[in-house]
């Protein structure tokens, strides 16, 4: 279906959409009737108070959790009942709220592990490790693009927190995803890293769809084309940042009275 | 005659009751296992050995010191509990910071050593232990002849299980225990002596196993092998119930006891694997166990 669409890169179109998404935990409803459209070449922010259900929405979209109700469509295909690894192979890749790297592999290996699958170099148990060197060029390019070239051979566990987040973004990009889901990519990051990551996100979003959760409102304001505000599992408001931040309900529920 | 599933109702009731008796042992043992696992994250492979030690302690108290069943019901768990506590203090403790598998391997070695020692000292065929005079004999329930002692086992084990559950769920000590399970360092920083709590817990778990051992002594041969036979089944019970759930362990213990009892009637050849089969099915349908939370 996507193949037949005569759209050029850069033109916004819906690539990921959810309808009537709901998730119950026991008696508690964490996500309730959420409709969401994520567009190609757009940065879409999902914000809301703590416990609003943002991470849960991510888990539902990536199928790490099964929705109680609702449907999810990725690139025109229904993925409501698809396994998470399959979803990832279809081009929907996420990062985690708590940083997720392979701690005892080097930076290079971290990126190469991500490259192995799309390059069909994952199941070969009869080939030597040197077979992976074919991926080095691509890996180095990714490492450079996030500014990790100095740490190329460092063990991931020895990186600082911010560098780990950046590495995670690099491995995510390695899959060449069509849709990127980023859960608080800047949380706990120092100021200079925030700027760099924002730049990376802006760059990748030119040819991809990005959905991100973020509490840093200045980032949201400058980076995101579209904002969805979630509260108690439901959509409270939607629109561009200016419109949303004017909404008095959003101000009381989330932003508070002062300027952030 | 009323029939149920093709067998007389009477026989059915009888088997149900017997299943409950077996379940009493499973419940007591899996309770201790679940407590130790819940707090220490250690799979106590030595649990079977401690059960055996309880039975042997009762036997030794009787044959060497003339101390009978009733005092042994208190003394044997106390002794085994202290022994367990000492072991935790001196050895097991060093493994907490490591992968939980090391705890499993250590207690496995411990079980081999204890069992080997008793086999060396007392042989494998076991020692006799008489039913206490007060509980000798039986009553005819109409559908079966119930030895009084077996009735006592059900009542007593139920009381112990519920008592333990109450302590853990409803008291301050219990809330320390539960909290320390989640985040021992933080609880310690609140001013609670967590290392002591851990020792206490291991001792308690071992004592529960020993208590089951004393209960078992008049029914089964007091044999060095009695523990290793039952421990694997109890593991399966705990997997089915969901590790770390106290009530889950208790209920599953009784339930599987009954399931096993009924299998002995309908298809006796499968009675020793029925629990494993149930485990496999539960794993397929509810990987976290019947009462477990998702890890």
């Amino acid at each position: 279906m996507t193949a037949t669409m005569p759209l050029q890169n850069g033109a916004p179109r819906v690539v990921l959409s959810a309808r009537g998404l709901r998730r119950d935990f026991g008696g508690f409803t964490a996500v309730k009737d959420v409709d969401l459209d994520v567009h190609h070449a757009r940065v879409h922010a999902l914000i809301g108070p703590n416990g609003a259900g943002k991470t849960t929405v991510f888990n539902l979209l990536t199928k790490f959790l099964q929705p109680t109700h609702g449907t999810i469509t990725l690139l025109g295909e229904d993925i409501t009942n698809t396994a998470p690894d399959k979803v990832a192979r279809m081009g929907l890749v996420r990062s985690f709220q708590i940083s997720a790297v392979f701690p005892h592999l080097t930076v290079l290996d971290n990126v190469r592990v991500a490259l192995q699958r799309p390059n069909n170099l994952a199941t070969q148990f009869w080939k030597p490790l040197s077979a992976l060197e074919a991926l080095n060029a691509k890996a180095d390019q990714l490492i450079r693009s996030v500014g990790l070239e100095k740490e190329r051979n460092a063990i991931a566990a020895d990186l600082s927190y911010g560098r780990k987040r950046v590495l995670e973004i690099a491995t995510t990009l390695a899959l060449d995803p069509k849709v990127l889901l980023l859960d608080e990519p800047m949380a706990g990051m120092g100021h200079e890293d925030v700027g760099m990551v924002a730049e990376i996100i802006r760059e990748v979003a030119r040819e991809r769809a990005v959905l991100m959760v973020e509490h840093n409102l200045s980032v949201v304001a400058t980076l995101c084309h579209h904002v969805t505000v979630l509260q108690r599992g439901e959509i409270l408001a939607e629109g561009d940042y200016a419109a949303v931040s004017e909404d008095p309900r959003v101000r009381t529920a989330y932003m508070g009275t002062e300027e952030a | 005659m009323t029939m149920i599933f093709g067998i007389p109702l009477q026989a059915f009731l009888g088997q149900l009751l017997i299943g409950l008796i077996n379940g009493s042992f499973y419940a007591l043992l899996s309770l201790g296992l679940a407590i130790i696992f819940g707090l220490l994250r250690v799979i106590n492979f030595a649990h079977g050995a401690q059960y055996m030690l309880g039975a042997f302690a009762a036997w030794m108290l009787l044959s060497h010191f003339g101390i009978g069943y009733w005092p042994a019901l208190i003394l044997a768990p106390l002794l085994v509990g202290l022994l367990g506590a000492a072991m935790e203090r001196t050895m097991l403790r060093r493994l907490y910071s490591l992968d939980p598998l090391y705890g499993l391997l250590f207690t496995f070695g411990l079980a081999l050593t204890v069992e080997g020692t008793f086999r060396y000292l007392y042989g494998a065929s076991g020692q006799p232990y008489a039913t206490p005079a007060l509980l000798v004999g039986g009553t005819n329930l109409g559908f079966m002849f119930l030895p009084i002692y077996r009735g006592w086992v059900i009542v007593f084990s139920l009381a112990v299980c519920l008592g333990t559950w109450l302590v853990i769920e409803k008291t301050k000590l219990g809330s320390y225990l539960r909290a320390a399970t989640e985040n021992p360092v933080l609880v310690q920083s609140f001013g609670i002596n967590v290392p002591f709590l851990l020792t206490l817990t291991y001792g308690l778990g071992a004592a529960l196993a020993a208590l089951a051992g004393v209960l078992a002594a008049p029914i089964y041969q007091v044999s060095p092998l009695m523990g290793s036979n039952i421990i694997i089944i109890v593991f399966a019970v705990v997997v089915v119930g969901g590790m770390g759930s106290i009530m889950g362990a208790i209920i599953t213990g009784y339930m599987l006891g009954v399931a096993e009892g009924l299998t002995k009637v309908f298809y006796p050849e499968a009675s020793n694997i029925v629990i494993f089969v149930i485990m496999a099915i539960v794993l397929l349908l509810r990987p976290a166990g019947l009462f477990g939370r998702d890890a």
């Binding site: 998470p84 690894d85 399959k86 985690f96 997720a100 392979f102 701690p103 005892h104 592999l105 290996d109 991500a114 192995q116 699958r117 994952a122 199941t123 070969q124 148990f125 009869w126 080939k127 030597p128 490790l129 077979a131 992976l132 491995t171 899959l175 | 799979i43 050895m91 493994l95 910071s97 490591l98 992968d99 939980p100 598998l101 090391y102 499993l104 391997l105 250590f106 070695g109 411990l110 081999l112 050593t113 204890v114 069992e115 080997g116 020692t117 060396y120 694997i232 593991f235 705990v238 997997v239 590790m243 020793n272 694997i273 494993f276 089969v277 485990m279 496999a280 794993l283 397929l284 990987p287």
Partner: protein, 330 residues
Amino acid sequence: MTLTLELEKQKERSPVVAQTIFLGAGLALLLLAPLFFYPVFLMKLLCFALFACAFNLLLGYTGLLSFGHAAFFGGAAYFTAHVVKEWGVPPELGILAGVAGAALLGAIIGFFAIRRQGIYFAMITLALAQMFYFFCLQAEFTHGEDGIQSVPRGHLLGFIDLSQSTNMYYFVLAVFVISIAVIWRIINSPFGMILKSIRENETRAISLGYSVANYKLAAFVMSAALTGLAGGLKAIVFQFATLTDVGWQMSGEVILMTLLGGIGTLIGPLFGAGLVVTLQNYLATSEFPVTIITGLVFMACVLLFRRGIVGEFYNSRLGRKLGFEYRHKH
């Protein structure tokens, strides 16, 4: 957190040379061993060493502790013994039948076990292996506690007479060396890299699109198949298959061998197996009860030298100088 101990990293050229010399010397020793030691004993040692190495493929490199590997070892022994004795197939085919049987069994047990991790995994494998034990106990073809006895060793490829101890020994040695090479290749391959990353961070591996369950299952089946190879060989060497090889004590023993030799080291299990087998043989004629000693060794190992013999060596000054590395991670 996974059980993660790891070796292997050759940084510079010279250590590689030193290690090659080490390996060569080891191989030469094994080639000459029958001149000094009892061949059946050596063969037993190699069978168990292979068993432990196959087990270590799972524990050391994917972090999965199976407490049910005896099912594959003993099961393969039964399969091999049965087809060789009752159907009269040649030994090499018999062993392959054992391998296939063990792999199938591994696929079945693995299917259930990989649904859980860590300790649960260990307990599930234990329980399922125990089911298989009961099956073997009751099945007709295993001959209950008599076991399958007097299995003919036959002729390898139709012309090498395996009833000659020396022939048999070199056959076992060849299989052993090839298997170790295979294990080494699996660990150091693109596939091995994915296994490693799954052990490091399973959720992240899923989100990168890896069907983690399939990888784990594949590793489990490989380990089971190699274990089956050891079991099938053992049936031919000893000419029988009995219940002792399927019992849970055997699963415990292989863990001990691996732990003693060094989890996550390629050749550690060889030393571990050597030590355990020698110990059992020695204790058989001594006053000490075997289980007590085994238990004590286990406890001491866990408390005092978790790296195992080879791991401790790698970690020693000499070992490091030779370029070995043993990383112990939590």
